[in-house]
Structure formats: C-alpha cells, structure tokens
Symmetry: C2
Subunit: 337 residues, 2 copies
C-alpha cells in the first residue's frame, strides 16, 4: 500500500490497488493458525432458487463434511444431549454435565446461512452452545430451504419459544444465535413482542446476519479479507425468502422497530468479519432507542470466531456468561437440573 | 470482487485483486457527502526525524490551512474561550454559553498526530469540545515535536491535570481526547495512577492512537479505505518518541497495566477507521481486566468522524453525554459556572 496509493473519486468510490495483507501479529498464536487454515466450506452455491436438486446436493455435501469432522468431537464434550419434540418441532437439548444446575436456559438458533447445519449437526451445537453459555441449551432443528422457505424456520423457533416459556420464566431465558441464527434470534424477539409474548431476559447475537439485503459497508470492505465468509450470501438469502421482501423486519431484523419490548442485547463481531457492519449497525439501532446493548468486536476475527479454542474465543465466552449473569434472574440451584 | 477472488496462502497472507469499493448506502446523506470530499491534509511528511526545518514548514502549512478554515466558524459557536496558564502550561478554557452551569468539567487533549493542531487551533477545539461534551472544557496546548518530543506533551497534560484537580473533584472530571489526544488521555490515566494521583471519573477515547507501534490489523485492512488517515503515521510517531521505546505504556497505552486504578472508559471508532484495531484492542484490554468499558463503532466512519454535522456525529455526542452523566458525580447548579 505504501507505494501504490488508493484513490477516491468525487462520487466517493474508493479504488484500491492489488495488495497482500500479511497475517495479523496482534492476535494469539491459535488465532493466527486459524487464519492460515482454509475454511472447509464450498461457496459454489447454485444461483437459481428453483434448482432444488442442485441445492439439496450441495447442502448434503456441506453437512456431511462438517458432520464427519464434528461428530468425533461430540463424544468428548462434557455435555449430554437429548432429542425432544416441542410443539411439533425437533429440538436437541444440551446440558453441561460438569456444571451446577441453573434455573436459566438458552434457546439456541444455529447458523448456516439458513440452509445448512441442520439435523444431526444441531446435536453437536446443542452440546457446544450448552458449554459456551454454561447452561441448558435448547437447540432448534428448524426447517430450512429449499423445501421450507420463510417463514418456516421462524415459525419453528417461535413454536419452541412458546413451549419453553411454559416451564421457564422468560426472565431466566436467553435467546442466542450465531450468523443466520442471530437473524432468527433477533427476528424471534421482534415477532414474540408483536404477538404479545413476554421478552426473553437477553439476546446474544454473534456475528449476526441481521440484514439479508446486505446493505452494510463491510460486505464490500471485508470481502476477501474474511477467510470464512469470503463474500455475501445473496443467493441463499433469496432462497430463504422465497419471494418475501428481504427488508421486512422478520427477514432483516436490523430494520425492526426497537422502541418497545426488545430485550437487552449483546452483539459480537470481528474486524475481519464480513458481518461487522451488521453488528455495528444493529448495536447503533438499539442504542438509538436507548436500549441496553453491548458491542464486542474482536481484533482480526473473521466471521464465526477463531475456531473455538483460541484465547479470544474463551474471552467471548466469558463476556456471554457475564452478560447472562447480569440479566438473568437470581440464580438458584435447581432440583430440575 | 465477485469475479477476481481473494486468495490466502499457508502463512495466512491474503492477496486481494485491485478493486473499487462503492460509497456506502448504509449511512446518512451528510456522511456520504463527507466520504466523497477529499480530506484537506497533506501526507507528505518528512521521513527523517532530524529534518527539523522541513517538519516545521509542513506543520506550519497544515496548521495554517486548518486555521483559515476553522477560525470563521469559531465566532459562530455558542461558547466562550479564555486562554489561561495552568502550572506553566497554556490552556484554552471553553464554556458553553447556552448550557446551564455544571460542576463537571473535561480535560480535553487535542489530536493531530502529536505534531499539529496546536496553538490557536486549540482555541477552536476548546469551544468544540465544550459543546460536544456539554461542559467546561480545558483544552491543553501541549508542547510538540520537533522541538519538544516525548515526554513534553504528556508532562504538560499531567501538569494541567494536577492543577485542575485542586479545584475540581476528580469524580466530576472526565479526560477526553481524539486520535493522538486519545493516546495522551489514556497515557495520562496510567501515569496519574502510577504517580498516586486520583483517577478521573471517566475517559473518553475517540478513535484513539493508543498503539504507536501500529501493530493492529486495520492498519493493513483499512489502509486506503479510510479517506482521512490513508496510512499509518510511523514517521510522526518516531519524531514524537525521540528515541524512546514506542511500546512503552506511556507512549502506547494499549500495552499498559489495567489491573488497578483505571477509570471507566468509552471508546469509539468507525468500520473504515485506520484506528479501528486500536479501539477494539483497547476495549478488549480493559474488558479482560473486568473494567467498565464501552465500545461504539460507527458504520463506514473514517478516522475522526463524519465532519461533525452528520446525524452519526450527533449520535456519538449523545453517547458521550450519557456516559458522562452516568459516571460523573451528582450534578449541581454551580455558582462558579
């Protein structure tokens, strides 16, 4: 960059020369290692929403790859997982085996661009989210495209939320999600409010896909710099929307009304994250309405963290636990644990 | 970006093709206008720290340009400014004329890469900071290179701090600074603590230059994307350090010890900010020590904001006022106002 300079035209277009960005020296060795490891997800998604068979093939291939990688790990995690059906929706309930029992619980909505990481992969996420959040975690295996576009996924999450608040005080329940799961978590909070349901105690939105229109600036500035999400996911978003307006608040909760009934929210992203704009814009939207909202941005972190075992990932877990401690009702040891 | 893809090698180097980043559509019209206006500061600084005459010429030219632009505005601002000498250091004291008098006050440390925006330009910043922070603002005209390298500036800021806390309760005093001023504000808090002085009620660090070693990742990723600070300021940092270790906590407060005696801190940056890494790393350093620290990152904002009159700038001012209201002692109307 020091020789070939950037230029800005009078319309505000910034032209940058070809350049090589060295690995950051400001992060842990584990995080640096993660940034030099190719992320094992294909981005060769079909472009035609109607190419159902092609979508299914690609989804199955991605899921099989992740399952092969993650299933061996599942057996070693100090959590047990049960599959239940709640209001007709399959849910994997993860419980940390080592931790003391808590009243509080999490409704966990998995990521995966609204199309992958369902089924048996939710079993893994029930365990990891229970450990990450240090409490029982209800991980919803919500329906997804191509067979089930919007609003199937959100309907399922809401059905499970309705069921959980019959037995858990909302003041003891957090709703959490990463990436597409952050979209569903925020959309659920809006829709629950609109339908007259009580709000959960808190929302945890991890590098959340809150804007399916992809209007944020880091969709441009961090394209290619984020080694996990190298570019936007518009073809997936259109498949998910199934003809619905991408900018509707239930599809892009960033554009929701936060003036009433929205819970305290923690939002996380990384400086190399394609969804950094999603995160900071969501934070500002909540803060403009005077809501309690915390922003945590991690140095050089791509979409989704540094793989889970870097010190930075542990730091994030500590922030999540603290935020839950602050916002969930007084803790008791529970005989139901 | 969609055709020519980025690539990552096994060492973690990311190579990006030449590309044009369009103006963001996710910000206000005023902010968009600011991003298409060339920033009027030369970056042709001398590279040799010993080229004293060349440095002085360039500094004088930059200051004259800004003064010509800003002085007419000063007369229209609803604030009065007096020049005082406090413990031997010139200070411009700005007071909002419209606002009700408050006990609380701000020690304001101006930016300018540790070399520019001193002298009469501090008069302007006394007025603007008094209005931005809605209280009396003591803006220090600290000594600067090439004649006065480190630790002259920090010595001056500390001398003024010592004087102010003779008449203002530290619980009613915030220390604020933007860019290089954020460096001095954080370094002052560390050094005041080390010298046994009471901490101020709060720190406000706006897009702060807390790492003169420039080790953060956004010094690379946002180079050229930030239209204000197009690249790092290492030649200025070396001139300021005058042979001292750039990584010493009084020069790069990011590397300080925050385990005791550091005040609640608000940190701000933008997603296009060259100093975004400075901001998020400082936030994490404080949070790791359990300190109360808030991070506010603004969409597509370059170093230093959107020029002051965009809605986003007003939003930041509202956050600063709220943070001060939270952390400064109970407000009284004061007969000294």
């Amino acid at each position: 960059m020091s020789e070939a300079l950037a230029s800005v035209d009078s319309a505000g277009n910034v032209t940058l020369p070809e350049r090589t960005i060295p690995p950051p020296r400001s992060i842990s060795a584990e995080a640096r290692r993660y940034l030099s490891t190719p992320f094992p997800i294909s981005e060769e998604w079909p472009t035609d929403p109607r190419a159902t068979a092609a979508w299914k093939r690609q989804i199955a291939a991605v899921d099989a790859g992740f399952l092969a990688q993650q299933e061996p790990m599942l057996r070693m995690l100090p959590a047990r997982v049960e599959r239940q059906t709640m209001n007709g929706v399959p849910v994997y309930v993860g419980t940390p085996t080592g931790a003391h029992a808590r009243e509080r619980a999490a409704l966990y909505l998995h990521g995966g661009g609204m199309i992958v990481f369902g089924g048996e992969l939710v079993r893994v996420q029930a365990a990891t989210s229970a450990l990450q959040l240090d409490c029982r975690s209800y991980a919803v295996d919500y329906r997804m495209p191509p067979d089930h576009p919007y609003p199937a996924a959100l309907d399922d999450c809401l059905a499970v939320y309705r069921r959980i608040i019959e037995t858990h005080a909302p003041s003891e329940l957090v709703v959490a999600g990463s990436s597409a799961g952050g979209n569903l978590a925020a959309a659920l909070a809006l829709r629950a409010r609109d339908e007259g349901l009580p709000a959960p105690a808190a929302l945890l939105l991890l590098t959340p896909e809150v804007d399916l229109t992809e209007s944020g600036d880091t969709f441009q500035t961090n394209a290619g710099i984020d080694i996990v999400l190298k570019q936007g996911l518009m073809s997936l978003n259109l498949l998910y929307a199934g003809g619905h307006d991408l900018s509707h608040p239930y599809l892009s909760p960033l554009f929701g009304d936060f003036t009433r009934g929205f819970p305290p929210t923690l939002i996380q992203a990384g400086t190399r994250d394609l969804f950094l704009s999603n995160a900071v814009r969501m934070h500002r939207a909540l803060r403009r309405c005077g809501l309690e909202a915390e922003l945590h941005v991690f140095e050089a972190m791509p979409h989704g963290g540094f793989g889970g075992s870097a010190p930075e990932d542990a730091e994030l877990r500590a922030e999540l636990t603290r935020f839950m401690n602050k916002h969930c009702g007084t803790e008791h040891r529970s005989s139901r644990g």
